[in-house]
Amino acid sequence: MGIRRPPPCQRPPWHPAARGLNLSSKRPLEETGFMINKIVQSMADAMADIKDGSTVLLSGFGSVGQPNVLIDGLIEQGAKDLTVAANNAGAGHIGLARLMELGRVRRIICSFPRSSDPVVFETLYRAGKIELEIVPQGTLAERIRAAGAGVPAFFTATGVGTKMAVGKEHREINGRTYILEDALYGDVGLVEAWEADRWGNLTYKLAGRNFNPIVAMASKLTIVQTQHIKELGDIHPDHVITPGIFVDRVLHVPYGDPGGF
């Protein structure tokens, strides 16, 4: 990746040269540590410091927009006692299903645990080895969005009069009854992007967007696998869907098209 350095006259006041610090002109900026570069070179760097007991927000709707390679990285990394929030509860014996099969997930928060092959989840659930919190899909998305937007809880009509409302605060507003739902914060968010740059600006492809932008917003540590790396400035500002402020680490994974569901 080419490193572009501004000429001295354009250096902003925070720049070390502007503060009279002597930086060798031969040293690339990335070595000085003053260039933002969220692109990591290895899975180990991408997964560093994920702690046991973390809440992990996982994007994807079926396998579309699901960061499969990062999930494999999390399996390798070893964190356990996890709470995982995802729309689905995994299929077959790969990805999230594998993470659960290895006993690393204490609790799953999802809207639709069934899939074409939900054997791992069903087995753990029947054996009482995994906690399930079932959440209407829109409430799940809004709880994640709310966390990213600094909204700790919100009222919604979804679920009023159903099992979902049991034990929740009810309030009548302008003649309609609502229930209070909490924001859902992630310690870690795993995201699949289509394009990314070193500032962490992201685009997505078609239905691959789904939960990715809100997972990026709601997580303290947002880790992205991206199909393509772009030079800074090559993603048109009007086309950035997730601005880099929501992103911490980017790993280049030219994964190809999503497979089965």
């Binding site: 709707f61 079926g62 579309v64 729309n87 509860a89 809207s111 639709f112 645990p113 069934r114 939900p118 989840f121 069903e122 659930y125 029947r126 399930l132 079932i134 959440v135 209407p136 899909q137 829109g138 409430t139 998305a141 809004e142 994640i144 969005r145 919604t156 009509a157 979804t158 679920g159 009023v160 009069g161 159903t162 099992k163 979902m164 997505y204 492809k205 078609l206 239905a207 691959g208 967007r209 789904n210 939960f211 990715n212 932008p213 809100i214 869907i241 098209d257 999503p258 569901f261």
Partner: protein, 220 residues
């Protein structure tokens, strides 16, 4: 049932979908639930501009793709491959559900296990002891769309009525259903209760009532 065995011809699955499609006017934004409701789109002609929404962030879905023209990044909520019409757009999940929960959809069509005469719907779990419940977007759609129509068989396979006085299965939403299309009839949910709009050819009102737990009314 002996009094109700007179000759009549239930609506076929195709005809049921056609019945719903015929009532959707141009310009409506519509979400079709997984299962039989998905087939409704096949009976809305492309020249009638009805905009179909899918929960996973797709607005303006077109017909299913030909086998050699599948776009692997474009699926619907049932995880089937779909196409986008010119003018179609994508959004993230929270925006997609804001379309639902914010009251922007003109219509949602869902399947159901039971619909009650007060408009309650039960469509996500058949018992309190389901192995693992799965709700998806049904509660958001039922509570959020401007109109909820249900498309379902009139009775279960063993003949148990699905149009009931009060739902016995866990509710999806209260007082949400506005109209029900079945293989035997089309029924509006009104303040009086179920009002019959249409019946399968040869079916009498008494015969329909015999297959319905809740009381039926003829239009005033």
């Amino acid at each position: 049932m002996s009094a109700a065995t007179a000759e009549f011809k239930p609506f076929s699955r195709v005809k049921m979908a056609q019945n719903v499609a015929a009532d959707i006017p141009e310009g409506w934004y519509v979400n079709l639930g997984i299962g039989i409701p998905t087939a409704v789109a096949d009976h809305v002609p492309l020249e009638r501009e009805v905009i179909f929404h899918s929960e996973n962030g797709v607005l303006g879905m077109g017909p299913a793709p030909e086998k050699d023209k599948i776009e692997p990044w474009l699926i619907n909520a049932g995880k089937q491959y779909v196409t986008l019409r010119p003018g179609g757009s994508m959004c993230h999940h929270a925006d997609s559900f804001a379309m639902i929960r914010g009251g922007h959809l003109d219509l949602c069509v869902l399947g159901a296990f039971q619909v009650a005469e007060n408009g309650d719907i039960a469509n996500w779990a058949t018992s309190e002891n389901d192995t693992a419940p799965a709700v998806g977007g049904a509660m958001d759609l039922a509570a959020g769309a401007k109109r909820l129509w249900v498309l379902m068989e009139h009775t279960t396979k063993d003949g148990t009525p699905k149009l009931v006085h009060r739902c016995t299965y866990p509710l999806t939403a209260m007082a949400a259903v506005k109209r029900v299309y079945t293989n035997l009839a089309t029924v509006d949910v009104t303040e009086r209760g179920f009002v019959v709009r249409d019946m399968a050819p040869g079916l009498t009102f008494e015969n329909l009532q015999a297959r319905t737990e809740a009381k039926l009314y003829l239009p005033a």
